[in-house]
C-alpha cells in the first residue's frame, strides 16, 4: 500500500490530508494556511485562516471580517497529524514559506519568494526538506537582477532629472510590497513623495504594525500639484496615465518590475522608463534556493514551468510541473492589488 503524499495538488489548491488543510487555496475551504497577502494567494471565503502575525493586518484590510489566527515565524503548530511552521520567504513583509512535516517527511510550499534581502521583508531562510514547491515566474536565464543599491541609484537619478525639468515623476508598482520596498529606496532629499490611495492604504496598515516607512503625502482629489514641486508619485500601474494622474501636468512615467528586463515589454508598457526590480527570485535565485533545500523532489508552479522543470530534470532533480492559479508578477494588476 502506498501512503498518501503529505501535500497533494487538488482543484481547490495544495492540500494536506494528514492535517485536513489547504495552502493558498483558490476556492472556499474550511481551513486555509496563507503564505502572504497578495490577492492570488489570500482569497476570500475561507472558514479559518492561518498566517504569520506580520501578514495578518494586510489580509484583514483586504478581506475584511475574517476568522484568522496569527503564528510566529519558526513556531511549530500541530494540525491533525501534521507539524506546520512558517518561515520567511523574503517576498513581501509577512510572507512565508510553509513547512509541513508528517511522520518525518518534510514538504515546503514556498509561495512567492526572493532570496535577496530587500531590507524591508523578513529575509528569506532556506529550509531543508524532501519535497519543495517552487514558483518559476522568472525561471529563465535572461532574468538576473542587479543589486538594490544600483537600481535605487537609477530611480533616484531619473526622479532628480524629472524634478530638475519641472516634471512630476510617476512610478508604477504593486500597492503591497513593491511600493513599500521602493519607498525605502527613494532619496527624500530630492523632493516630496506622494502616494495613490491604494498605495497609501497599504502603507498605513504597515506603519500601524510597526514597520518604518519614509513620510508620504496622500494625493487626494483636492491636492494641488503646484504645492509639491519635484514630487514623485507612487501608484499602482493601472493608475498611470489616468485622469487622476493627468491633473499633475507635465510628467514622466516609469514602471518597476522584473518584466522590464525584456526590452520589448519595456517598450510596450514602460512609458518613459522601466526599472528592473522584482520581489520574485531571478534565475540564479531560484536555483540557489532549490539547492539549499537539499530536496530531491521539486514541484514547479506558476511561471516558465515547462522550461524550468526540464532544466531541473536534466540536472538530476525529480521535477514536475504543477498547474496552479497563482499569477506571479504581472504588469497588469488592478488598483485593488
Amino acid at each position: 500500500m502506498t501512503k498518501a503524499p503529505v501535500l497533494s495538488f487538488t482543484e481547490n489548491g495544495i492540500y494536506c490530508a494528514a492535517g485536513d488543510f489547504y495552502i493558498d487555496p483558490w476556492r472556499p475551504v474550511d481551513r486555509a494556511l496563507i503564505t502572504h497577502g497578495h490577492s492570488d494567494h489570500a482569497r476570500w471565503g475561507m472558514g479559518r485562516y492561518l498566517a504569520t502575525h506580520a501578514a495578518l493586518p494586510v489580509m484583514r484590510h483586504r478581506l475584511g471580517d475574517i476568522t484568522a489566527e496569527g503564528i510566529a515565524y519558526g513556531e511549530v503548530r500541530r494540525i491533525g497529524g501534521a507539524d506546520v511552521s512558517f518561515h520567511p520567504a523574503g517576498h513581501v513583509p509577512g510572507s512565508a514559506q510553509i513547512r509541513v512535516e508528517v511522520q518525518g517527511e518534510v514538504w515546503v510550499a514556498s509561495g512567492d519568494y526572493k532570496v535577496v534581502n530587500d531590507g524591508l521583508s523578513e529575509a528569506f531562510t532556506p529550509i531543508k526538506c524532501h519535497h519543495f514547491i517552487t514558483e518559476s515566474t522568472f525561471g529563465l536565464p535572461v532574468f538576473r537582477w542587479e543589486d538594490q543599491a544600483t537600481v535605487a541609484a537609477q530611480i533616484n537619478g531619473w526622479w532628480a532629472g524629472c524634478a530638475a525639468e519641472g516634471k512630476t515623476a510617476f512610478l508604477g508598482a504593486y500597492a503591497l510590497g513593491k511600493a513599500q520596498r521602493l519607498l525605502t529606496m527613494l532619496d527624500p532629499a530630492i523632493g516630496p513623495i506622494l502616494t495613490h490611495t491604494a498605495t497609501e492604504n497599504t502603507n498605513q496598515v504597515m506603519r500601524d504594525q510597526g514597520i518604518s516607512l519614509p513620510d508620504t503625502i496622500l494625493a487626494k482629489a483636492d491636492l494641488k500639484p503646484k504645492d509639491h514641486p519635484g514630487a514623485i508619485v507612487l501608484a499602482p500601474p493601472s493608475a498611470l496615465g489616468s485622469a487622476w494622474a493627468k491633473k499633475f501636468g507635465p510628467q514622466e512615467t516609469a514602471f518597476a518590475s522584473g518584466w522590464m528586463a525584456i526590452r520589448g515589454v519595456r517598450r510596450r508598457r514602460a512609458g518613459d522608463r522601466g526599472f528592473i526590480i522584482s520581489d520574485h527570485a531571478d534565475w540564479d535565485g531560484l536555483l540557489s534556493a532549490i539547492k539549499e533545500t537539499e530536496a530531491e523532489n521539486i514541484y514547479v508552479t506558476h511561471g516558465y514551468t515547462d522550461i524550468f522543470s526540464r532544466y531541473l530534470k536534466i540536472n538530476g532533480w525529480n521535477a514536475q510541473v504543477v498547474p496552479t492559479q497563482f499569477e506571479g508578477e504581472t504588469l497588469d494588476k488592478d488598483v485593488s492589488e
Partner: protein, 532 residues
Amino acid sequence: MKRFAQLFSTIDQSTKTNAKVAALADYFQHAPDTDRLWTIALFSGRRPKRAVTTTKLREWAAERAAIPLWLFEESYAIVGDLAETIALVLPPNTPQDDRSLSAWIAALREIYTQDEDARKTFVLSAWDQLGGAERFIFNKLITGGFRVGVSQKLMTRALARATDKPEAELAHRLMGNWHPDDTTWHALVEAEDASADASRPYPFYLAYGLEDTAQHLGDTADWRAEWKWDGIRGQLILRDGQYFVWSRGEELMTDRFPELARAVDYLPQGTVLDGELLVWPSDQPVPSSFNALQSRIGRKTVPKKLLTEAPVVLHAYDLLEWQGQDMRNTPFAMRRKLLESACADLPADAPVRLSPQLGFDTWDDLAALRKSARNAQAEGVMLKRADSPYLAGRKKGDWWKWKLDPLTIDAVMIYAQSGSGRRANLFTDFTFAVWNGNELVPFTKAYSGLTDAEFRQITAWVRKNTVERFGPVRKVTPHHVFEIAFEGIQRSPRHKSGVALRFPRMLRWRQDKPLQEANSLADLEELLRIYG
C-alpha cells in the same frame, strides 16, 4: 561605443519624438564623422558585412553563459531578439573598453577573413570587455536590425537640425544604394553635388487611409482615381543604360524581376516610374492574387518555369523623373499626361503597363467603383489630387487610399500562445475555429487587432481556463467569440479547414455573442465561393 550606446538608450527609452530628435541631432553635431555616418546607416537598416553566423553566435553565447543550447533557444523564443537574449544571458562583467562605434565595426571587418577560431576568440573577448548596453549593440552590429523607433522621417528631421539643410533634400540623399564603406559623411550629407549613383531612388509618397466616405474631399473634378492594387509598391529606374527596381521598404530588388530588364527597350533613359509590381499573365483580365506574387518575392534568383507561370509586370501610376529631370514638383495631372504619352507605344507584352484611371463624376460613383474592387483583384481605390506634387513620406491631404471593407467572420478562440518580445508575458497568438455540426474546426490564426488592455484581459482569462498544454500552446475552453477580419480567402490544401485567409486579424471581441452563434464551416465555404 559608449556615446552610441548612450544615444541608443536615450532613443529606446523615450516615447517622445522631440526627445529622440534632440538626442539624435546632438549626436549628429558632435560625434566623429565615421561614427555619425555609421549611425545613419545602422538606423536605416544597413549593417557591416556579417562576420559570424547567428548559429555560431548562439552556440558561443550558451557556452559562455554555461547553459544548454536548448535553454538558450527557449529564452530566445520568449525574448524575441537574438542580440538581446545573448546580452541578457552572458555573465555580468566589469566593462573596460572605450573604442568608438566605427572602431568596433572596423574590427569586425577584419575578422571577416579569419578562421572560425579567431572569430570566436574575438567575439568572446568583446563580450568580456563590453558592458550590458554595449554588448547588446555589439551583437546588433553582427545580427543587424536596429529597430529602435527611429523612422526615416525622424532621422532626417534630426539631420536637418544638425546640418541646416532642408529635410526633403536629406531624405533623398539618404535613399538608395549607399554604404558607409563606399562613402563619407561629407559626400552623403554635405557635398554640393548630390548626383549620386545611378540607382538612387526617390523617397516614396505614402497615402493615409480614408474612412467611410470621400464626400468631404470637395469637388470631384479636383481628384483622380485609380485602383489600389494588391501587389508590392515599386520604383523602376532607368538611368545610364541600366535598370533598377526598388521596393517601398527601400530594398533593391532588381535581380528578382529580370523580366523588367526589357523596359530599357521601350522607355528612354532618365525615366523613373512609381507603380505596382503584380503577377499578371497576359491572357488574364485581372492580376493574379497576392499569393502568386509571394512565390516571386522570396526568391533572389528566378527559375525559368516560375517566370512563365508567374510573370511580373509593373503597373505604372506616376512619373518621378523624365528625360533626367526630377518631376516631383510638377502637378500630378501633368505628370500623368507625360506618363500616358510615355506608355502610349508600349506593346502588349511589355513588362510595364499604364495603370488605368477610373472615371467618376460623383463621390457615389466612386463609392460604387470601390465596392467592385475585388472583381478587379484590387483592394480599393486610390485618390490623388490633380494638382498635387509628389511628396516624400506619409503626408495628409493630397493622396488618400480608400480600401475595401474587409471580409469578416465570427469565430471561436480554441488555442492561445504567448507572444515574444513586446508581448513576452501576454497571450497574443490565437487559433480560431468555426462550427462544423457540433465540432469546432480550426481555420486561422490571428494575433493583432486587440488593444493592450484587451490582451491583458484575455491573458488573465487564458491562465484560468487552460484545458491542456502542448509546449507553449494552450488549449482553452471554447468560450470567446471574435470577429475576424481578412482581405481575401482562397482554397488551400495545406490547411486543415481547406481555406487560407489573407491578413487575418481580430476586428472585435464579441463579448456580446454566445458561443453557439459563431459562424460555421458552411459560412466560410460560401465566402470562398463568392470571393475565392
